[in-house]
Amino acid sequence: MIEINNLTKVYPARTHPVTALDGVDLSVAAGEVYGVVGRSGAGKSTLIRCVNLLERPTSGTVSVAGRELTALSGRQLRAERRRIGMVFQHFNLLSSRSARENVELPLEIGGSLTRRERRARADELLDVVGLADRAEAHPAQLSGGQKQRVGIARALAADPHVLLSDEATSALDPETTRSVLRLLKEVNERLGVTVLLITHEMDVVKAVCDSAALMREGRIVESGTISDLLTRERSELARELFQLGPAPEPAGSESGSESESAPTTVLDVTFHGDSTAQPLISQLARTYSVDVTILGAAIETVNGQTVGRMRIGLPGRFEDNVVQVGFLRERGLNVETVVPETVTPEAAGPETGAPGNAAADSLQEVAS
């Protein structure tokens, strides 16, 4: 649905020009929710603004729904933009218009509906976003979440095939964020609208995205579907999605007897799909008669899929555990060895939230 090829954007400046995008390739399939994450200044906003050419790329091409936008004339581009909805961080609603009139704006610009049809369509969309009763309200009388709902209704008014969203929930509190994200997901599922969203919150990706890309310094360093990323070895995105904290100190440190501690192999194991339902760790323990230590775990629902990640310790060096690692890999788990680094003792702990700890406890029971 969205094809971006070798996109480059350089902001000219007298002293040092800024390369905001440095050869970005991105492909968003029809009907999916695609999330782009990255640090501040990574070029996320520049990228999404290049999709509807609010920003002219320095080089490269952008195609949406099979039309190469970068090759169109002004008039043709405007026509294509009408089929690309955009949702903004600061809503960008017209304060002079009521909620309904704001939703009507893209229809007025499109110019193919009568006044009555526009009104009917706007009311229909306000109903979709749950604001049917606030149609007459002006933006100043709406809460942030309500404003963003109007923003989404407006973006959907002209029946777009693509919805672009730049940090649409960043100005909202967590509760409102969840409800707005649910709405976006619903829009995606019910209306089949492809969504490209920019965020700096991993939780947003977890909640709604089918695919994700990680940007750094104007490049996409990793991308793929979520389930693909989770099975990928050494995936930064997967690690971010499931924070287990930095690698722990060599085992034994907790017991306070570093000197006589035996070597331990620390593994990060990712479960997904069917394997979450199977008692693989207890099978491992039984099959090889090893004591499995659970160092941390998190189980989450990513985009409707249950995925778990666990950090376990096996006695012995890695060389001694090759068979056991093979056992886990054979059963479709993604296993990574964690290279121990010297960290402060408390650094490993806090990342695993309450549900993760509960899961760890029950798993430990199973394993022992």
Binding site: N52, L54, L77, R78, A79, E80, R81, R82, I84, M86, F88, H90, N92, L94, S95, S96, R97, L105, P106, E108, I109, G110, H138, P139, A140, A158, L164
Partner: protein, 218 residues
């Protein structure tokens, strides 16, 4: 001079003032609004960014703003004659009034339109609006309260200018005050015109404030 002698004079003069201010305000809006818009639109990073045009327009406006009205009034008499065929009377006064008020109003328009959030312009573009549509549907409606406030200030300035223009043979309340009040020592009439001018300004201000408030949905 008795009140009944004054009444027709005051009525006639008020009417002339209304005509001068009304027509010149109309022309000021018609010419000043596009100039003000262009000042914003041609600015760096704006929709029609054009440094040369922006600079040229800004200079013209500044020159117009820096001329004292009384000098402008006399300086452009050939221009006035070219347009209305005469340099005295209400019609002739409208030309310098409008010429004087256009740069003033254009700057106020510029300030008002510049206040419109860039994000709204961007949203409009993202919806596929042409520049003209963005101006019509976004820039003007969003800056309307500020534009009305600017117009109020301009009309009040025009009331003041019109008294000056009147003195150079245009008629109106200013002319009346000078001819009777100043030159013939008719203090009663002088006071009456001053009161009328004050009332007129007050009414314009109240009306303008009220309208601006009604239009702002904040």
């Amino acid at each position: 001079m008795s009140w009944s002698d004054m009444q027709p004079l005051l009525w006639q003069a008020s009417l002339e003032t209304f005509q001068m201010v009304g027509w010149s305000a109309l022309f000021t809006v018609l010419i000043g609004l596009p100039i003000g818009l262009l000042l914003v639109l041609t600015d760096r990073g704006a929709l029609l960014a054009n440094a040369a045009a922006n600079k040229a327009l800004g200079t013209v406006v500044n020159v117009g703003r820096s001329l004292p009205f009384i000098i402008l009034l006399i300086a452009i008499t050939p221009f006035t004659r070219g347009i209305v065929g005469t340099t005295i009377g209400v019609d002739a006064a409208i030309v310098p009034l409008a010429v004087g008020a256009v740069p003033f109003f254009a700057r106020l328009v510029e300030t008002a339109v510049r206040e419109v959030d860039r994000g709204l312009i961007e949203a409009s573009q993202a919806m596929g609006a042409s520049h003209l549509t963005t101006v019509r549907k976004v820039l003007l409606p969003e800056s309307l309260p500020a534009l009305v406030a600017g117009l109020t200030t301009t009309v009040i300035a025009l009331v003041g200018y019109s008294a000056m223009a009147g003195a150079i043979g245009g008629g109106g309340l200013g002319d009346l005050a000078i001819r009777y009040g100043y030159q013939r020592f008719e203090n009663g009439l002088m006071i009456a015109t001053v009161v009328l001018l004050i009332v007129l300004v007050q009414i314009v201000q109240l009306l303008g404030d009220f309208t601006a408030k009604r239009l702002a949905h904040r």
